[in-house]
């Protein structure tokens, strides 16, 4: 009896090592054997996204910030506001500078000095979507038309890269803008604009923006990335799945379920039926993400009331 138990234990351990070896040596075959049973290596269904959490006010020195975890992928977004002179073409608008960073701590593929190839791609995508979705009204960032407006620096740091980086980056950027609080500003004697400290009573100069402290967030974009492999659609792929599957498509929808962007960088040829399936999954995902974000915003407001 004891010998049988020991044999079973040894067999179990050997079995685990064999599975791990098979996974490393034949990753594609390993994945396909799972997909045949409609399951993924991390036990998710193909259409299932990983659990997502949002934490607002993660950075105390920033005007708006959010920490987002999408499975093991972690993103930290931070917004800092600076007063600047608006451009001549748009004298009554502020502007936004988006930068996506992949520090070497987040992935074995990133080395210090040389930025990751994917970082500027995500930076550009983030900026395009924030601008084109209509989430932000840049006129709200204007202080004095033609003279002073806000420049919002949005920095998104990837703290752990485990797939679907753009999705996590977009959620964190949206959450950071939701949390953004605009500081009070006054105009000095010399006509210069400067920020006022927390103590409103001390301000001897006229406040420019007493009322407008929060941005009006209208159309909120959310995204879903799907990996496409033969007839399978895998929502929210992990880094392992992304490295095996060469085709992916990212759908971005706004609050009205309208399409803001579809991105499919190369890969195998795909039918419209598959794209429609991805859009349908993205709609479900958008609703869940909106719930998660609203819960956090309400929790934050309750905290501030106390």
């Amino acid at each position: 009896m004891a010998a049988e138990a020991q044999a079973t234990a040894a067999g179990g351990l050997a079995g685990e090592m064999e599975v791990e070896a098979y996974r490393r040596l034949f990753p594609l075959a390993f994945l396909e054997r799972h997909l045949r049973e409609s399951v993924r290596p991390d036990a998710r269904r193909p259409a299932e996204a990983r659990p997502t959490t949002v934490a607002l006010a993660a950075v105390s020195s920033a005007h708006g910030s959010a920490l987002v975890r999408l499975g093991d992928t972690a993103m930290l977004a931070s917004i800092k506001l600076e007063v600047m002179s608006p451009s001549g073409e748009a004298p009554d608008e502020g502007s936004i500078a988006v930068e996506f960073h992949m520090p070497p701590i987040c992935s074995p593929l990133v080395r210090p000095g040389r930025p990751a190839e994917v970082a500027p791609v995500i930076s550009k995508n983030l900026e395009d979507i924030l601008m084109s979705s209509g989430m932000l009204n840049l006129k709200e960032l204007c202080l004095i038309s033609g003279k002073a407006s806000w420049l919002a620096y949005l920095d998104v740091y990837c703290l752990n890269a485990d797939g679907s980086l753009f999705d996590a980056a977009l959620i964190s950027a949206v959450a950071a803008f939701t949390h953004l609080e605009i500081p009070l500003v006054s105009v000095g004697d010399d006509g210069r604009v400067f920020t006022v400290g927390g103590n409103e009573g001390k301000a001897k100069y006229e406040l420019v923006n007493r009322e407008k402290r929060k941005l009006t967030i209208t159309n909120v974009p959310f995204s879903l990335t799907c990996a496409l492999h033969k007839d399978n659609v895998l929502a929210d792929p992990t880094a392992e799945e992304e490295s095996i599957i060469e085709t992916s498509v990212t759908i971005v929808l706004d609050s009205s379920d309208q399409i803001v962007s579809i991105q499919k960088p190369g890969g195998a040829v795909t039918s419209m039926t598959t794209i429609k399936e991805c859009i349908s999954l993205a709609k479900d995902r958008r609703r869940k993400l909106r719930e998660i974000l609203m819960d956090n915003v309400e929790a934050m407001e309750v905290d501030q009331t106390d």
């Binding site: 972690a74 070497p104 701590i105 900026e127």
Partner: protein, 260 residues
């Protein structure tokens, strides 16, 4: 960066008042000469900030650790032992490669703290005495640190956090390395200074220490110190390092318990 090329940012020009200078001088005298004054966060001279440390925040790395001391937040990842990228001759001992960087929002003014080569070198010097390099010949262990928020005493926290991350990665070490720094105000010594305190200090001293072996891997000193005060400061640091090491060992036990 996609900011408009024509856009310029400026900060308000602050008039340097005579009154302000007098107030500043009076404050400096108060800090240096008075024997007892409360610190801004309510600590006494020899109290460290509460330490929160945790292993494993970065699953993509072999080992990682997160540390939070008051407002200072640091995350360290360890990769390897892995093949060296640079073409190098065979070596009987491994290489330790350290890199420290700051986020753009780590400091109150955006973009400060970007020149960190000195910190990377100091982190390397602090750790290489503790890591058994001979156990991974020809390969490299990479230690990457990212300071999420800078609230004072950044480098000692980076060193302690990196030590925890190396242990989490399973790198063989003689002992954990913990580090604490003190600031000098006239005749007063305060431990684990914040950013505001560091801005006013006359001198600073940092000790990186292996408590179980009672060995110092790094000692750096800036400013003016008398001999007696240096001795007191070093002993104060070593005592704090031992207490911090107990916290690190507790975290490692917790992590290994969870793994089972």
């Amino acid at each position: 960066m996609s900011a408009a090329a024509t856009a310029g940012t400026y900060s308000p020009a602050s008039a340097a008042g005579e009154k302000r200078r007098e107030r500043k001088e009076e404050l400096r005298r108060h800090l240096a000469e008075d024997a007892d004054w409360p610190r801004a966060d309510g600590r006494s001279f020899h109290d460290c900030r509460p330490a929160f440390m945790q292993t494993g925040p970065t699953t993509a790395a072999s080992g990682s650790a997160y540390a939070e001391f008051g407002k200072t937040k640091v995350i360290v990842s360890v990769f390897g032992p892995r093949e060296s990228k640079k073409a190098m001759l065979y070596s009987d001992t491994g290489r330790l490669n350290c890199n420290v960087s700051y986020t753009t929002f780590a400091t109150p003014i955006r973009g400060q703290g970007t020149d960190n080569k000195e910190y990377s070198a100091m982190l390397h010097k602090a750790l290489e005495g503790a890591v058994m390099l001979h156990t991974f010949p020809k390969t490299t262990v990479d230690v990457f640190a990212l300071v999420l928020e800078s609230g004072g005493s950044d480098l000692p926290i980076i060193i302690s956090c990196a030590s925890l991350a190396l242990a989490d990665a399973g790198i063989m070490m003689y002992d954990l390395v913990t580090s604490v720094s003190v600031s000098c105000f006239g005749k007063n010594i305060i431990i684990d200074p914040t950013s505001d305190e560091e801005a006013w200090q006359d001198g600073s001293l940092m000790v990186a220490y292996m408590p179980a072996r009672k060995e110092i891997t790094q000692l750096t000193l800036t400013g003016e110190w008398s001999d007696g005060k240096i001795t007191n400061a070093v002993e104060l640091c070593m005592d704090a390092c031992s207490k911090l090491c107990d916290i690190l060992r507790e975290r490692l036990k917790d992590a290994s318990s969870l793994a089972e």
